[in-house]
Structure formats: structure tokens, C-alpha cells
Symmetry: C2
Subunit: 979 residues, 2 copies
């Protein structure tokens, strides 16, 4: 690039005083699209805060001691057009075979209307977790649909709004069982999918849970040490067991029963609830979510309610959507029972889970809304009938069908074992993937995409020859006896999905309107900035999102032969290399599918490294008070004891306290977990010393990379002393938050920790087979393309500039606000990093709480900043680099105007109770009501600023959290209530 000075083209009267970059045959600089403020605006803001240019600012901001010494060595940026062409060519290296591997992943038909209007619709994917319920009723309703669906399919009443995947859900169930039974032995059926067994193994060890794997689960003899038994339903070989006795004998011993189940099969199989199981987990993937080479998909969990105390229910991990009422007495939804969660309970939490799989849960829920109970059953019966038909023809050809009770999966023993290689060759020719067991058997799992032609091809492949008469097949197929149709002991008789929502949106017109109505209830990035500190709600660009729905990326089974996934290998390879360069680490694991899961994997690497070194006694994890709740929760899961470190009045780690504690626990010190720049929004100058001190005492440094958005191109954790970090690709690297997930939390490590990164038993990762923390070897593989695209389009200079503008934006806003709100923490130079904390405590004495400000912001059309975290009674603002000056100015104006309203409460011009802050948010219903009885005006309530006319309205009044938690309802109201 050649810089030709400012204002090359004298096109207009409007002065564009920005350095003109002449792009040689380059279409467009993506960085200019990604970054909000134009150069002129950047200059205005720099002038305002008193810095010459971006380098001047960040040169001051980032401590000298840690400054990156050289520019990032990353490929030069491509514009979006070229990037898409390049990525398309890479993706085309993936070979898309028909997948009959099964093992928890099935091809599915994503209804076009859902793909287009949810997955490809920025209005559905760019929200954050619904912390602000009043402007999130749309996806809260959809997530409640998800919960209702899971509760009804499993027959178990209490459930949550998704977990990370089936394997982590299984591990969460194991932990839940151990916790509630206070026992520590778990029996796992050896016929669980291997990845489930693996993650259960990974996660149980540190928790001190003993795993016994049983090869003959049906007759298992329980003793009073067994917390629970875990079975796969149907099992990994496709077999459906008769579990009644097992469950009875478990319960006799006060052991719990955990069933890992297949959602589609539950339409025709007796549900876990019907069978009497206590916990059901699984994946909702085959309900309309693409394979995506492993993810993202929504995991689920549902539990029985054994007693009035609902012990299992109240201990369930993850987010629960619950029904409550709002200030006007209307029904409203919001996150329930948050006191279980890490952000409140920290190391006492039920789980470390934070970001889950909301978007995918919504897709699956909509799939059920679209199909309804009848069509879902029809789909399942279709799949089952095809399987029976296949079994019939294979048996006729002399093969053995190993299990007689199956749903969609056959284990096939070839008539002639020697024919295996030939069969494999034919499968390859037919572009089909089967499961090949070690004993020489072949596994075939069918799904809703299987057409008559496919069945013919499978029969041909396995039998060697067949007349290919598809019409005949169409007729015959209905004649074959099916194990689950007719008089089967396995048949489901209980009803499900009877609520109107699953029975009224089944024409496309109806579904589109339903989805739109929900979408329009929610504030997302399409409306306004979402200044959630620590969440980094930056642009999710269309060009980054387009590839994820390409079949070349979305239609591969995670256990397909790796030779078929060359495109993915290239993407992973690039990403690992680029992320290493960006962070200064030596190796990366892309497996963790959330930030918290990355933390866990990172701490585990530390722990196993220490054990490997013979220092198993090292189990203390130092964690500053300001840490995110996931840090202590993860530490606890990794069998570390949390010792809290204080902060000083700058918001920095209290170095003295740290040194003292490092000293005190010198022999036991395992690690420190520290966020940088700190969650207080400052670049602590002592970071290097902190790292050194911990190392000095034999500990490892875990640097929480959630705030990497302030560092890319400016400094590298790997350079200044950290041993391991997770990155939140769904923050710094542009993966949309999806209203509460998906996320990706890859971890980077220094060389010594590399051997301890997660592996995978089915598809080894860099040769590693153990220690997996997720179902799939590369976690949420498909959305890694988003990050790839972002880095490829930004290039080294653009990425650095993004960090700089993120810092500029935060400092600009802080300075504009500081006269009216105290900025709680700044560094020695008076600067903040990429986010900052505003003190709202002083207003308490006038009766105004931070929540009043948060809700009042909705009336101005804004989503609140992060509330009371990491500092109570404060708001934390993170504008990100993608917000332009005008948008930030509007938010500033709103906050200043609210400050003025607070003053009016102080001085009595507004009532102490009946004021627009306390009454906020104001719904349309309220402000148009004929009975307006507030002492302030409707216009003040509704349109405190002229630009509020564009706002997205809250659709309910302030929600009542207590009421809902006292009366937990986490599914759609029973059908009677509609009649």
C-alpha cells in the first residue's frame, strides 16, 4: 500500500481528511468497513482526548515493558470479494460424502426458511445473552420453546437453554449426579459414543469421580457408592436396550440414571421420563442444525423432579429461561435461578458454563415449531422404516444384523469378512462414509436426508450388486416389518409438543411472521450499539458469515476421514499459525467451544503438566477479585483451590498481596488466572512482574484472553510471561454471539504445555488421543471460518488499527462522561484500555440503583452496559472499534441526560419513586394508555431525545426476578391455559 497523504481525490466539497490509501487493483479495504469512525472522526476524538495520533495514544497506553517489538507477520489483507474467492477454493478441498457414520451426528434438512431467516439473519444472531430481559423477549420465547421441546421429548420437566454439546452435557450430568447424591462413583455403559465417554473421563478425574466402564450394563449390580449409571439410548451400535430393570435396581440403590439420548428417536421411543430415568442429555443437532464438521450444535439436559425441593432442577448447570411477570403484571420471560451460575457463585457454581449454544437451540426449536409433533414423528418413522428396509435386504444378502432392536443404526457383520476392503472401495466410489468398527463390522446410520436412491446405493455397496429399481423400492419399503412399529415394548405412548406454538406456524408464511415478530422484540446490533463491557459486541460482517452456510463447510461429519477434510485442515492450520503469531504462543487448540471451556482446558493443561513434572501437590490457583466468574468455576473443575488476590485502588492486582500469597503457597502454587487488560479496563503496568512472581514460585500463568481486543497487534501475552490463554473468538474475532452462543474458546500455550492440549479418541488431534473437552475434535469447527475470514480481510495493519480504535473509542467516551460519572479505574496516565467502569454508587443515596439506569437506557433505545460486574453498582462500557462517533455520541447524550434526570430526583423536580428511572422501561402499551398517571410526561418517558423515534421498544415492563425464581416455570404454560 502506498500512502499518498490526505485527501487525494478532490471529489467533493465534504472534506475527507483521511490518509487516502491507493489500493492497487484492490477493490475495497475491509478495515474501513469494519472500523466505525472515519479517519476524520478519529482525529476529532484524538484531539478531544489530547493525543496526536493512534500510535501516540496506544504507545502511551500499553506499558513499554510489554509492547510488541515488531509488526505481526500475517498475510496482507484481501478485500471481501477476493477473500470469499480464496476461502471458496479452500472449502472446495473438502469432499462432501454422504454420511452414514452416526455416532451422535446426522445429516439433517435445515428448512430453507429457518436457514435464511435465523442462521443467515443478522437480526437473529447479533444479540448477546438476554441479560436485559425487557428487550430480549423474542429469543427468550424461542429458548422457552427449546426448553419445552426438550422437556417434552425427554419426559423430564426441568431443563435449560442449551449446553455446549452432547459430550459436555454428559459430563455435566455426571457432575450433577455426584453433587446431588454426594457419591463419587459413576458407571458408564461402554456402548456410549466414545466421545461422550472421553469427555466424561476428562472431566471426572479432577473432580475425584471414579468412572467404571461396564460392558454389560443391563445386569449391573449396584452398590451404595454408585452416584449414577450412564447409558446411551439407543446405544452407539444402534441397539435399544430394555432399561426398566436397570433403572429399578439403580433407584433401589438410590443411584441416579443418566440417559444420553437421540432426540429424533424419542418421537417413537419411550422417553427417559417414561422409563423413570433421572437425567437426560443429548444433542439437538439433528433437529435442523448442519453437521458443520462437528459444531456448533446445542447440547441439552433435562432432569426429573423427585420432590418439592426440586434438588436436581435447582442444581442444573447453565442458563434456564423462566416465566415471571413484569411491573405491569404481564407475563414476561427472563433468565431464572441465576444464583446457581458462575457469575454469582464463582467456584461454588453448578458449572463454569457461560456462553452456551443459544442460536443453535433456537434453530432446533424452530425446526420443531415448523414440523410439529406429527411431522416429527413422520420423519422418525420414515428414517426407521428405511433402516428396517435396509436390514431386510442386507439379511437377505446373507449379512448379519447384529442387534435386532434398532432405530436408525445397524451394526452389520458381513457374510464374508474378506469382502470388507472391497466394500470400502465401493463405498468410496459411491462417495459414502460408513462407520468401520475395529471388529470388522460396518455401521450404517440413516437420517432424514436419505432418499430411495441413497438406499439403493447403500444396498449396492454392501451387497455388491442389486437391481437399481427405485420405484420398486418405494413400494416395497412399506411392507417390511420394523422393530419399533407395531407391538414394541419400546414404543412411546406419551404425548409431546401439544402446545399451540408447535401446532400453528406450519405454513411458511406463518413461520416467517412468527420469527419476525420474535426478532423485532429484541435489540440486536442492527439497532444500536450494545456497549456490554467484556463482551466486545463488534461488527459481525456479512462476508464473514456467508461461508458458514456453504455446503462445503456445513455438510461434513466430524468423524469423516481426514483426507476428506483438506479444506478444514487448511483453515485450522492457518488459524493456528495466525493465532500463534497474534498471541505469541507456540501452539493452539481449537477444540474448546466456549471461553469457559477454554479456561478449563487451559487449567487442565497446567495441571497435567505439573503432575507430569511430579508436582501434583500444586493445586492453588490465585484469582483476583475482579476475575470473571468462569475463572474460579473452571479452577474448581480442574481440581484447583481458589485463593483470591486483592486489587489496589487503581484496579490493578495488589502486587503486595499477590507476592505475599505466592510466597505463602509457594509449594502449592499451581497458577494464577489473570485477565489482561484487567476486567477493570486498565493496562496494568505490573503484568510482567505478576507473571514473573508466579513463575518464581513455580506457578503457571493463565491469562484470560477475553480482552484480547485491546491487544492484537500491540502486545502479545506469550511475550510478556503468560503460559496459556483462551481467546473468545466470539468477542475479539467476530463470531456473533447468537444471543448466548455459539462461542469458540481456543487456547494458546507455550511449548511446554503443548503435549497437554486436548486430544480426541476418534480423530486424534496432532496425534493426541486423550483429554478431549468437547464432542468434536475441532469443537465448533464451522464457525472458525468466520475468524479466518476476519483475519484474512484485516491483515496485520488492520488488526492493529482495530485494537487502537477500540482503545480510542473507550477513552473518548470515558472522557466525555467523566464529569458526570466517576470513571472508577484509570491507569497512571489517566487512560483506560478498551472499556471502562462508571460508578453509579453515589446515586443510591437518592434511591437510584444501577438497574434503574440500565432500564432507563432502554427508553433511549440503548442496551445497557454490563451491570454490576466486575464492580458492584457500576456500569462497564465497551464500545469496540466498530462503533462510529455519532453512535457513541448518542449513547453519551443518553447517559448525560439520565444523569440530569438523576439530578432532578436529587433536587426533587422528579418524584422520588414515580420517576422515569424507577418506572423504566416504558412500554408502548404504557405510554399510549388512556390512563397515564405518572407525574412526568409521556414524551419524557418515551422519547427523551429526538433520535429515540428510531428505537426498538421494550415489549414488557421491568421484570420481576424474585417472583419467577420463587415459582420456577421453565416450559411453555400447559395447553389448558390457552383454552
Amino acid at each position: 500500500m502506498v500512502l499518498l497523504g490526505r485527501g487525494l481525490l478532490a471529489v467533493g466539497r465534504v472534506a475527507f481528511r483521511r490518509p487516502m490509501i491507493v489500493r492497487h487493483l484492490q477493490y475495497d479495504a475491509f478495515v474501513d468497513r469494519h472500523i466505525g469512525p472515519r479517519r476524520l472522526e478519529q482525529q476529532q476524538m484524538l484531539d478531544f482526548i489530547g493525543y496526536k495520533d493512534l500510535d501516540d495514544l496506544t504507545g502511551t497506553n500499553v506499558p513499554n515493558m510489554i509492547k510488541a517489538e515488531k509488526a505481526l507477520e500475517l498475510p496482507a489483507p484481501l478485500d471481501e470479494y477476493k477473500m470469499l474467492k480464496e476461502l471458496e477454493a479452500i472449502a472446495a478441498q473438502n469432499k462432501i460424502y454422504r454420511s452414514y457414520i452416526g455416532m451422535g451426528y446426522y445429516d439433517t434438512i435445515v428448512p430453507a426458511v429457518i436457514s435464511r431467516n435465523i442462521l443467515q439473519n443478522i437480526g437473529w444472531i447479533s444479540q448477546y445473552t438476554p441479560y436485559q430481559a425487557e428487550i430480549s423477549q423474542g429469543r427468550l420465547e424461542s429458548l422457552l420453546n427449546f426448553q419445552t421441546m426438550i422437556a417434552e421429548m425427554t419426559g423430564l420437566p426441568t431443563t435449560n437453554a442449551s449446553l455446549l454439546d452432547e459430550a459436555t452435557a454428559s459430563a455435566e450430568a455426571v457432575a450433577l449426579a455426584a453433587r446431588t447424591t454426594k457419591r463419587n462413583k459413576i458407571v458408564v455403559d461402554s456402548f456410549c459414543h466414545p466421545q461422550n465417554l472421553d469427555v466424561i473421563r476428562t472431566r471426572s478425574g479432577p473432580l475425584g469421580i471414579d468412572i467404571e466402564v461396564s460392558d454389560s450394563i443391563e445386569g449391573y449390580a449396584f452398590d451404595d457408592k454408585v452416584a449414577a449409571v450412564v447409558v446411551q439410548y439407543p446405544n452407539t451400535e444402534g441397539r435399544i436396550h430394555q432399561f426398566d430393570e436397570l433403572i429399578e435396581s439403580a433407584h433401589k440403590n438410590k443411584s441416579l440414571v443418566i440417559m444420553v439420548c437421540d432426540l429424533l428417536s424419542l418421537t417413537i421411543l419411550r422417553s427417559p421420563g417414561d422409563l423413570g430415568a433421572d437425567i437426560a442429555v443429548g444433542s439437538a443437532q439433528r433437529f435442523g442444525v448442519p453437521l458443520g464438521y462437528g459444531g456448533p450444535h446445542a447440547g441439552f439436559m433435562a432432569v426429573a423432579k423427585h420432590d418439592a425441593k426440586n434438588a436436581l432442577g435447582r442444581n442444573i448447570p447453565g442458563r434456564i429461561i423462566g416465566v415471571t411477570k413484569d411491573a405491569n403484571g404481564n407475563r414476561a420471560l427472563r433468565l431464572a435461578l441465576q444464583t446457581r451460575e458462575q457469575h454469582i457463585r464463582r467456584d461454588k457454581a453448578t458449572s463454569n458454563i457461560c456462553t452456551a449454544q443459544a442460536l443453535l437451540a433456537n434453530m432446533s426449536a424452530m425446526y420443531a415449531v415448523y414440523h410439529g409433533p406429527q411431522r416429527l414423528t413422520e420423519i422418525a418413522r420414515g428414517v426407521h422404516k428405511s433402516t428396517a428396509y435396509l436390514a431386510y435386504h442386507l439379511r437377505n444378502a446373507g449379512h448379519e444384523i447384529v442387534h435386532k432392536d434398532y432405530f436408525d443404526t445397524l451394526k452389520i457383520r458381513l457374510k464374508d469378512k474378506a469382502a470388507l476392503e472391497e466394500t470400502k472401495k465401493r463405498a468410496e466410489e459411491m462417495k459414502m462414509n460408513f462407520r468401520y468398527y475395529e471388529d470388522g463390522d460396518i455401521g450404517v446410520s440413516l437420517d432424514e436426508t436419505v432418499k430411495s436412491e441413497d438406499l439403493m446405493d447403500i444396498i449396492y455397496t454392501l451387497n455388491g450388486a442389486t437391481e437399481k429399481d427405485v420405484t420398486k423400492l418405494r413400494e416395497e419399503r412399506w411392507e417390511v416389518a420394523c422393530p419399533l412399529i407395531g407391538n414394541s415394548p419400546h414404543s412411546r405412548s406419551s404425548l409431546f409438543l401439544q402446545h399451540p406454538v408447535f401446532n400453528t406456524h406450519q405454513s411458511e408464511q406463518q413461520l416467517v411472521r412468527y420469527m419476525k415478530r420474535l426478532e423485532n422484540k429484541d435489540v440486536s446490533l442492527v439497532h444500536s450499539m450494545i456497549p456490554l463491557g467484556s463482551c466486545t459486541m463488534k461488527l459481525n460482517a456479512s462476508a464473514e458469515l456467508i461461508p458458514i452456510t456453504w455446503p462445503t463447510l456445513s455438510s461434513i461429519h466430524p468423524f469423516a476421514p481426514v483426507e476428506q477434510a483438506k479444506g478444514y485442515s487448511r483453515i485450522f492450520g492457518d488459524l493456528e499459525k495466525w493465532l500463534c503469531e497474534i498471541t505469541g504462543y507456540d501452539n493452539f487448540s481449537l477444540q474448546p467451544n466456549s471461553g469457559a471451556n477454554g479456561e478449563y482446558a487451559g487449567l487442565l493443561a497446567i495441571r497435567n503438566y505439573l503432575i507430569h513434572k511430579g508436582e501434583e501437590q500444586r493445586n492453588i490457583c490465585l484469582i483476583p477479585t475482579s476475575a470473571h466468574g468462569t475463572n474460579p468455576a473452571s479452577a474448581q473443575m480442574a481440581n484447583m483451590k481458589v485463593v483470591v488476590v486483592d486489587s489496589d485502588h487503581h484496579g490493578n492486582i495488589n502486587y503486595k498481596d499477590l507476592a505475599a500469597k505466592a510466597e505463602k503457597y509457594s509449594n502449592q502454587l499451581a497458577a494464577i488466572m489473570v485477565t489482561y487488560p484487567s476486567t477493570h479496563g486498565v493496562f496494568e503496568s505490573s503484568i510482567r512482574d505478576v507473571c514473573d512472581k508466579v513463575h518464581e514460585h513455580g506457578g503457571q500463568v493463565y491469562l484470560d484472553g477475553a480482552n484480547m481486543n485491546a491487544q492484537v497487534g500491540l502486545c502479545r501475552p506469550g511475550d510478556y510471561g503468560s503460559d496459556v490463554s483462551h481467546l473468545n473468538l466470539h468477542k475479539t474475532f467476530c463470531i456473533p454471539h447468537g444471543g448466548g452462543g455459539p462461542g469458540v474458546g481456543p487456547i494458546g500455550v507455550k511449548k511446554h504445555l503443548a503435549p497437554f492440549l486436548p486430544g480426541h479418541s476418534v480423530v486424534p488431534v496432532d496425534g493426541r488421543k486423550v483429554g478431549s473437552v468437547a464432542s468434536a475434535p475441532y469443537g465448533s469447527a464451522s464457525i472458525l471460518a468466520i475468524t479466518w475470514a476476519y483475519i484474512r480481510m484485516m491483515g496485520p495493519v488492520g488488526l492493529r488499527e482495530a485494537s487502537q480504535v477500540a482503545i480510542l473509542n473507550a477513552n473518548y467516551m470515558a472522557k466525555r462522561l467523566e464529569n458526570d460519572y466517576r470513571i472508577v479505574y484509570k491507569d497512571e496516565q489517566g487512560l483506560v484500555a478498551h472499556e471502562f467502569i462508571m460508578d453509579c454508587k453515589p446515586f443510591k443515596k437518592h434511591g437510584i440503583e444501577v438497574v434503574d439506569i440500565a432500564k432507563r437506557l432502554m427508553d433511549y433505545g440503548f442496551h445497557s452496559p454490563t451491570m454490576s460486574w466486575p464492580v458492584h453498582d457500576c456500569l462497564m462500557i465497551e464500545p469496540t472499534e466498530s462503533e462510529d462517533k455519532a453512535e457513541m455520541d448518542r449513547l453519551v447524550e443518553a447517559l448525560l441526560s439520565i444523569r440530569e434526570e438523576i439530578r432532578q430526583v436529587e433536587n426533587g423536580s422528579l418524584d422520588k419513586h414515580l420517576n422515569p428511572l424507577k418506572m423504566a422501561p416504558h412500554t408502548l402499551e404504557k405510554v399510549t394508555s388512556d390512563n397515564w398517571n405518572m407525574p412526568y410526561s409521556r414524551e419524557l418517558a418515551a422519547f427523551p431525545k429526538p433520535w429515540c423515534t428510531h428505537k426498538a421498544w421494550p415489549t414488557v415492563g421491568r421484570v420481576d426476578d424474585q417472583y419467577g425464581d420463587r415459582n420456577l416455570v421453565c416450559t411453555c404454560p400447559p395447553i389448558e391455559s390457552y383454552q
Copy 2:
């Protein structure tokens, strides 16, 4: 399919009493997604209107005489998944070469953010033409941006919101020139693109305009017969002429100058306005709209204002968006000067154009909003520099560059003419398409997608060999002299796109929010039914829309060698065959790119057939009073004289009057144009007699197929006597209306008319080379895939059922409403067809006009039915088959509630003037205002029904049409007004 009776699956308590269709391995029946009412609801509605089943209803409704005798022979339906696979394979037969053909079509980079959020967003594409301005301010603003862009790029102040394409725009300009100068000779530069010349020829003949084609336009000697001269700028060989003298001498002779121009070049070339031209036309395609094998793209026209009367401006064809104010005195936009248009002026209209290219105009306008003046200029300079660089290297290699003044197009005379074949072979190998002139020269046109690598490939192809050093090229390219950069007499100096809208949405975040804000101002099908009679606002399914953005369909130049378009050939072939089967015609032409253009092409076929038969004197076209305005307007353009035929009190054609007039004009009778079912919404039983009578007197029958939605599978125009019809694929066949286009109006004809269907001189159609009515041989080719997908998924049974349910829905609504609103026309059995007319005249005596009802419906959240057409003071409702019962019931409820409000005005409980009807629509601003001073309540104004809480709000109060027409403003306000 096997019908297994009702309620096969006892899944639920909710009784699904619909015939269960077992689909053999078929995933899903699209027909169930397309049709709104579930079977149970259909039965309820049938019971209500007193019919046993659908066949009973339509068997009564459709006159026996015309009933189809057999089921349609169309392929059995595919579900959306299979359909997409099949269409993907067909589309893959198209070969995507790099296109350097030029000739008015250029590859372009559709910004991903625009593609995703407009073209792929049902919220932007499923609106109708903005007849109801108060709920259309979003796209009205975007179309105003389009007009501003066109006005400023061309330097001519009055413009419109798109025409069909460049060639029809050229022909419209010719007609406009002839009309305003009252002269009838037009001189056309022979170096116009051939397709422009062709359509000018086609359209001028019938209007009595003489076309003189001149090979040396620069020195043309004008005389006082010349209405205008038409030049292409730059011309088809890429040459830029010096037009100052030509324009001066034209003006001396009071002739007008029409410039057909390239939008991108105008960023650096002197604009038509700067040069003194009177009319500029062209295509906005290369502003971010895919090639799409020819369309759809927005044509444009802008005209000079020579005098206060603005003669050209007030005579411009097509829709003009104009600025006005609303009832509250706020700025509002709406369609301006509608009195020029066919729906008011009929055969005196300025054009027959109705549906235009609103969606594509919006895309192009957003492209300009996204890039702004500076980036647009940069793009143009980049293209130009590449062209100059290419010229330099070709000259160096000894080739001749025929014209020295060019923008992006070179005519290349090979050093060695004999090398042509070899060059062509290399081009083929490199997958590049050039233009091959008849004289052996080669044409190369560059565009914004051309990368360094492409330039290297072009140079290699033409020069035979070159070192492929891309980096070197990147450097060198900036050294080469460019004809338009530096001191060129052609250089533009005037400013353009200075308005804030083109200078403030240039980060993606900003643009997304801007587009969303506009989207959310408009009512589209995602909100509620749009019951516009005659407009058929049915479902536009996602699966139908997905293919149009596949590169295999969107990235082909319409003049690419036909061997490269095998996929398209297959789609066209299927469609022609299927449409013939559906209509009973023998041949189809897919070229007309709107219904009106189809009418024109059909009438032209009749006219040329008659001339061919030696009956040129036949020039009378009988048209019923109830006909759509396009009918008489098209007839006039086809040189026919309109004679109006009366209707009887049933709304049928007055057969006696018809017979008398056919008799009277027996010798001159050319045709009748009749809509069936009639625009009055009835199946006239006399239709066969009408056809026979006309034939008896030697006339041809043109059956306007806009109402084909009531006929598909039930009766076929070709069977009951019609000779030619257009279909509105954007009505019956699911192409979305795009807020005012695109449309496709293919025509079907009986065999005798087939030779007179449109041809194309560049790409002959079935051997036909003349008579083209559109720029591209297959018109808006890319969106034909939508119709293909629809028919493929519905199958013969589904299509028929759609017609039946459309009729059921209309009859259900009519019966529910008839006690409160007189249904103006019914057939002898008391039935309506697929739409019906409600009389609102009786309310006039109480001061309530039909417009008051229309506007009041907005308060209920509904788009008004068609207002005062075809019968004054009435509303015409067409529900379509895609609307479910609940939605129709809501609209009924709204209309009954409004009827009650009218009664209250009658009986005085509501004020005569200050009532919710007269004051409608009520904006949010109004109902939340502190100064509510209406004698009725806010709640009555805002939420007359509980379900109104979901409504999309009107964003302005009632617009003032007169004010805007008196003070015509059709561009964004001047920049000063923002400061």
C-alpha cells in the same frame, strides 16, 4: 402418493383432521408450506360457505364450458431439499467464464452486506409498490436515494424510480422526445449497443416514429423533423466522442439529445447535464447488481428542466418518488405525479410501465450509499487505469487500439488477423469471454472485479505470451498514461453525491443499521397479509429465493456463448414447456420483463400477424371498462385504437355491447383485451362466447393473465379461445414484488402467433432476431429460477390446490364481510373468484371516503386492499392461498370493527371530522404526544384490537399528495438544508 384417510398418526390430542399423505421417503410436501390454511381450517371455511370440498366449490365456480378436462401433465413435486439439489445440478451446467464482453453488462461486486440484508432479506423484497405511503417510508427513502444518485450522476434534475432496463429506457426516451417535440424522426448513432437500437426500432415503428441510423453522428446535419438524436456514451466500441458540437447543433434545431450512458464512467466523465444533453438513460446494473444472465437490473432516466413548466419532467414515464408533507406537517415521501401514469391516464399515459425494478434500484442506491462519491470515483479510476495499462501492453505487442479515448472498453485490432482463432482458443482455455466483432476485431471491457491476475491473463491471451509477474504489474500500472486522467476534455468537474446519506453509512455497522431502519418502516409480507386485489401477494418461499444468488445463476453475461448457458437453457426449456401445459398455449416467450411489457409484446405479435396476413387496417382494440390501465396504454403503444366495452351489473363484459362493437368495427377489429377471471373478481360464464365473437369478426383475443392465480389447474386460456396472454410471474408464480419490481411477464401464444414473438439480434431466440422488447434475450433471466422452483415443488396437484384455496379464501372472506360491506360483483352462483370488491360508496354520505378506511386499516396493522380500482370508491381484496384462516379472520375483524366505527360516525357517537378514520393513520409520535386533543381515546387510535400490539407502525401521518405534486421535489433535499 397414497391417501390413507384422515388422522393416520395418533400423536396428539390436537386433532389434525386432514387427509394424511404418506410420502414415500419424501421429506416434506412443499404444498403444505405454501398453502396457508391447514386442512381442518379449509373444511371449516368450506362448511361456512356451504360447499362440500374444494372440488365442489371450484366445480361450481369455474364455468363448465371452460373447465380443464384433464389434470396438468407436469412432473411430480419435489420437496425443497430435493428441488434445491436438482436445480443446483442444473445450474452447475452453466459455465462461469470471466466476462469482458461489455455491451452494457459488467461484472460487479455486490457488497456482501447488501446482498445479505437486501437481496436475501424477505423483509426488503416482499413488499408491493408503495401505494400506501405511510407504511412505505423506508423504501421510498431508498428510492429517493436512487433518484438523487441518478440525477446527480447524470447532471439532470428530474428522474424516476427505475425503468425496466437500458434498452426500454432508450425507447421510452425516444417516445418522450417525439411526444414533447411533436416531431417524429429520431436519429440513432449506429454505435449504440445493438440491443438498444433493436428495442428502439421495435417500439418506434408502431408509434409512427422514423428511425434514422447514422454512422457518423458527430457531424450530423439536423433538420426540423428531428425530434432527437440518440448516442451511447461511451459508445458500444468504447469510444468517447466529443459531443459539444453535436449538442449545440441539435439544440439549434430544437432537437433533443438523448444520451445512453454508463453510470460508473460518469464519476469521471463529463455528465450529460454538464454537456447540455436533455435526456439521459441507462442501466444501474454495474452498481452492485449481479449480471444474472441479463437481469433484472434497474433502468434509469433523467431529464433536463428547460423551463418552469418542466415539460420533460412532467412527461417522464414510470414512477417518481416525490417529497411532500404529512397531516402533521412533517416531511413525507410518496409516489408523485401519478396522473401521468397508466392507472389514471390509460391510453393517454406517458408509458405503459407499471411494475418497474424497485428492488434493483434499491440495491444500486445502497451501493452508492455504501461507497460514497470518493470510493465510486476510485473504483472508476481503477477500472480505467487497468484499461489503459492493458492498452499499453497490447500496443507494445503490436496490436492496434482502435479508439484512443476510452473509459473501460478497448476495440483491439490484432497485429496478425490470422491469429484470431488461436486467440479465441486461448481465451477459451483461460475461461474468458471477449466480444468478437464481425470485422475480426476483439472487444475487451473491464470492470471492478478485474484483478492483477486477470489483467495478466488477458495480456497473455491476446499477446500469446508474457511473463506472468503480478507484482511487477501492480507497480507498473500506475505509471501508464490514461486518456481520462490528467488534462482530458472529457473529465468531469462537477460534484456529485454530496448529501449526507451518501457520506455517512460507510462502515458496515452503519449501513446495516440504516438498511434495518428503513426496512422496519415498511409493511411487508413478514408482518401481515397484504390483501391487494389483482396483486397476488402470496408466499415467496425461501427455497425459491435461495438459488438466485448462486454464482452459477447470477454470474453469467447475457451475451455469453449459449454453450456456456446450458443450465439456463434447461430452465427456460422446462419453464416454457410447463407454462404451455398450464395455459394451453403452444409457445412461450420469456423475454418481457414486466406484465405491461408482456402485454405490449403480445399485442405486437397480434399486430404483426395481422400485417403479415395483409390486414394492416385492423387496429381497433376492444377493452372493457374494468381493464387494468396497462391494457389501453399498451394498446396505444402497439398502434391500436382503444374502444371501450361496457360491463353489465354482474361485472361481466356487456356481451351485447361487445357484439355490437365487434360488428361495427368488424373490418378494423384487431383484438380484444380481456382479463380472466375479470378484474371484477368473477368467472364470467360468457368468456368463450366473447372469444368466439371476436374471432368471428377476425380479431384476436388477448387474455390478460394477471389473474391466472385463480385458474392454474382449473382452466386454460389456450383451451377456451384466447390467442395470447401474459402471465405475471411476480403474481401467480411467486417472484417477489420487490416493493415495485422486478417482474416477469412472459407471453404464451397459439401457434399462429409464434413467429411474431420477440427475438434478439445478439442472441437469437428460437432463431428469431428481431422484435425484441427488452435488453436481454431472456429478460430478467435469473429470477425465472424462482418460478421454476415453485412449479417443481408444487407439482400438478399442488398447483391446482393452490388455485382452489385461493378461491376458497376469497369466498370465505367475502361471505364473512358481506353483511357489512356490499360485495359488488358475484357470479350467478353467488360466488366470487380469487378476489372480490367491497363497496365503500355508501359511507361517503357520512363523510367517510374509501381512503379513510384504507388509512385506518394501518392502525389495525394491515395494508389496505386495492383502493378504487377497478371500481371507484371500492376496496378489492385478494387473500391468496398462502394466508391462513387466523390471519384472514383478523383482517375481517378489522374491517368489521371499522364498519362499526363508521356507524358511530353515522350515529354521531364519533365526531364527523375528528374521528379515528379521518385522522388515520395514527403515528407513534401522535399517540404518545402529551397533547392528545382528539375526542376519542389514544387506545382506540393505536390499539383498536388486542392483536394490534404486534403491528408495524406507520411512520408518518396521512400524506398530502396535492402539496407534493404542486411542488415537485424528487431528489434528496440540497445539502444546505442539512447544515
